[in-house]
Symmetry: C2
Subunit: 482 residues, 2 copies
């Protein structure tokens, strides 16, 4: 453990206090989450990164289906004319799409973009598929990749291509659409908190920050280790705007023709970035047990001594049988190296097993989150590790929540607001008049501070807007964001 | 059941004996598998179609992982220079790719195609990721969509975009690559036979029919109801061709630099087309229980009589608890309509439950495949339905196998060969000299008959080639194909 070579593995990571952005890049690389090709601005998601995504996707998909969501697949290309049908929407997306102009050797009559999001396609589809009130609602979702031609990119956080799910629903009434919009936001919030151990603030976006074409956008926002906010998932209510642009009408029970109401909602591979930045530390990744591809790593000590490797393999098998995603690290490397690697990859627990442990019928469980060492009898080890994993899941959420609360400040005066923005990374709660002019000035003068959301849980901090002094309409979470 | 309105549902399907292509289109539409948008040549996979794909994908993915496959995700765009690196490969694909020429408002310096397949990208990635023998093998796979600019399209069978998995592996030795190529072909074959109840012929493609850039292509071929063959999955050995073009080298144990050996293998949404055309009949789809999104439909008879609907709901719950994907059809429609709909959608069994059945503590199970009616006690109904489903799975495979054997002919003379090609849709087994000239002539003169594969199970039918009379090298399965 004390050997220099063992330490190298970790030493290559920049400390997060020194340079958070570099720390992030180092962790992504050393934990083997992404790779690259000649295609600039696009990431390769490697097996370990993709296994995290699979766990995340499967659980979110399961929660979707519990609420009646059905999966579908729509084309990846959108003709320009279709993209342009909804005015606000095309203005939001046209500047950043990739255009297909040739099919084989033939120039296309109308160019098509690779989907940046699929509201227009779903609307076109629904306009053909919905006829009567009996066809409603349709609660469809697709898992796919989308393209946005970003100028600067970072793995998971901002990439020209990313994976996501996009839900698109169509309803008979405005009430039903609003209900579904909020329902899906709550699915995201519960999923983030229960499965990824990421505490979130639930709220509504201001008009300036809402999605192109939506009448209302809801969001969950979380705080990273550096005090910057990350938008984790959004849910939009489109009213009947797209329905009017795309002529999505249905015959109601009373035989009259009515426009439909629509929603959409999405969560992306960005969440892997959130997991890294909410939970990670200077030893690397720290994965909540629920989403960890490997939950327990068995590491034999004095592996070459007779019987050790066999016992370690048997221990791994016992864990697997108990339903734990366990592995055995039997590589020809020192235990110290293996400890570092397990910590770098964020595997929630390691089980150390050496000749003395075997003699005493025990092993040592080391928690990744707290580094606590627990000596546990091999008898009943499966149940024991399951309990420890459940405890880690809970503790990681509590720790992240405590830090988020610690980094959430309240500003009552403009001076306080400025001071916090300059010196205290985190959320700032402050009152707002509702005027976009204040939002714009705040962004310009406070180094990029934006309104993250108008939280559902409102507090009346003051009567007036923190910026202009006019009557306040709402409390806003402000912050710098990814 | 006798009412005209009930029959309409089915009457809209063209009989497969009258027009097989139209029958196929009708079934796809009436079983609600696909839809459409303005995007020509692209399909929308609707919930029922996508649920079939999900079941198929999950099971195939499970089988992959059992053999050590890891999932990854690579970019969806390929720069033209990368596509051109392997000469045979670019010739095969360049004519049918979609080209992206603009990112936002900016014209790209180098145009990129939307991936038609990803050998070049994986090779580029491996050239950066593989250094030492310790890094090998890599057995990666991705589930994604690909684009090929087809001129004529049909849902599932030939579409400008389709979903698939593409496995790409890299190995230290030629032997290992060959082993993996054959292993994955067998995974496909077992999956098709055991899970989709589709009997296949396993074999190797002739040089004329092999994949662009491969040294050997293996295939599984199956026979549709109309006697045309469908290629169901392929597995390619690339030797070190791509490795040399992309400079994928590794340092071996002896410290020398060596080229890697690669494979790739894929299966697509085309398999849904195969399921339809192998199993379907003039009442619609017929799904093997393993892949059916709904395995059992409970249909109440005289639904408005007291207690019937409650009992039917309880029956459905019992089936769900037994692990069966069961649903209750409580729509306000006649039983006859519901029967037709259940048959159209290929749901393996329906359970009819009326007042008399309830009195006698029984229900009537009707098999979709044979239309056999089984009166079964409600006591222990879960186990009973499971047994019936297992029997259907088995019987559907046996029925398809018997038909395939019936439609597989042997030609010993050129005259026989011509006669069979003209009059007997199906496979024709015949000897071949190995010369592409014969293959080309056969295709031209026999209305599009091609070599489907050189089967692993060879038979020595004659000493000479069926076409030119020169010494025969191998037996070939010939046929017209989709």
């Amino acid at each position: 453990m004390g050997k220099t070579s063992d330490k190298k593995f970790v030493e290559e990571i920049t400390s997060m206090e020194v340079d958070f952005a570099q720390w992030y890049t180092d962790v992504v690389k050393k934990a083997d989450l992404t790779g690259y090709t000649q295609v600039k601005g696009f990431m390769v998601i490697k097996p370990y990164g993709f296994a995290i995504w699979e766990n995340l996707r499967n659980e979110l998909d399961r929660r979707f289906k519990e609420t009646g969501v059905e999966n579908v697949y729509l084309p990846c290309l959108i003709p320009e004319g279709l993209l342009q049908k909804e005015k606000d929407h095309v203005e939001g997306f046209a500047p950043e799409v990739a255009w297909v102009t040739f099919g084989g050797a033939q120039e296309l009559e109308e160019r098509m973009c690779v989907r940046p999001t699929s509201e227009t396609l779903f609307s076109d589809f629904y306009s053909k598929d919905v006829h009567s009130y009996r066809d409603l609602p349709k609660v469809y979702n697709q898992w796919c990749s989308v393209l946005r031609w970003e100028k600067t990119t970072r793995p998971f956080l901002r990439s020209r291509e990313f994976l996501w799910q996009e839900g698109h629903t169509v309803h008979a009434t405005a009430e039903e659409a609003q209900e579904r919009t909020e329902q899906m936001l709550n699915v995201y919030a519960d999923f983030a908190e229960e499965f990824l151990a990421i505490p979130v603030v639930r709220g509504r976006k201001t008009d300036k920050e809402k999605f192109a074409g939506a009448i209302a956008t809801y969001t969950i926002e979380s705080l990273m280790h550096d005090g910057k906010a990350l938008q984790c998932g959004t849910s939009h209510n489109f009213g009947d705007g797209f329905a009017k642009s795309f002529d999505i009408q249905y015959v109601d029970k009373d035989n009259s023709l009515k426009y439909c109401h629509q929603t959409s909602w999405g969560m992306t591979t960005r969440m892997i970035g959130a997991i890294i930045m909410v939970h990670g530390d200077n030893s690397g990744l720290k994965l909540p047990p629920n989403v960890a591809p490997v939950q327990a790593m068995v590491i034999p000590i004095q592996m070459k001594k007779e019987g050790v490797l066999e016992k370690a393999a048997a221990l791994k098998d016992t864990l697997v049988k108990a339903g734990i995603r366990a592995r055995l690290d039997d590589a020809d490397k020192s235990p110290g190296w293996k400890f570092s690697e397990q910590e770098m990859r964020g595997i929630p627990v390691r089980l150390e097993l050496g000749p003395k442990d075997i003699e005493q019928g025990q092993c040592v469980i080391v928690r990744r989150d707290t580094r606590e060492k627990i000596t546990a009898p091999l008898e009943g080890i499966g149940e024991c590790v399951k309990e420890v994993l459940a405890q880690i899941q809970k503790d990681m959420f509590e720790a992240a929540k405590a830090r988020t609360e610690e980094m959430t400040y309240t500003a009552l005066t403009k001076e306080e607001f400025k001071d916090l923005a300059d010196n205290k990374p985190g959320f700032i709660k402050a009152m707002w008049c509702g005027d976009v002019k204040c939002e714009n000035e705040i962004k310009d003068e406070l180094g990029g501070v934006t309104s993250r959301c108008m939280p559902f849980k409102q507090e009346h901090l003051a009567d007036t807007c923190i910026w202009c002094g006019k009557p306040a309409k709402t409390m806003v979470y402000w912050g710098k964001a990814y």
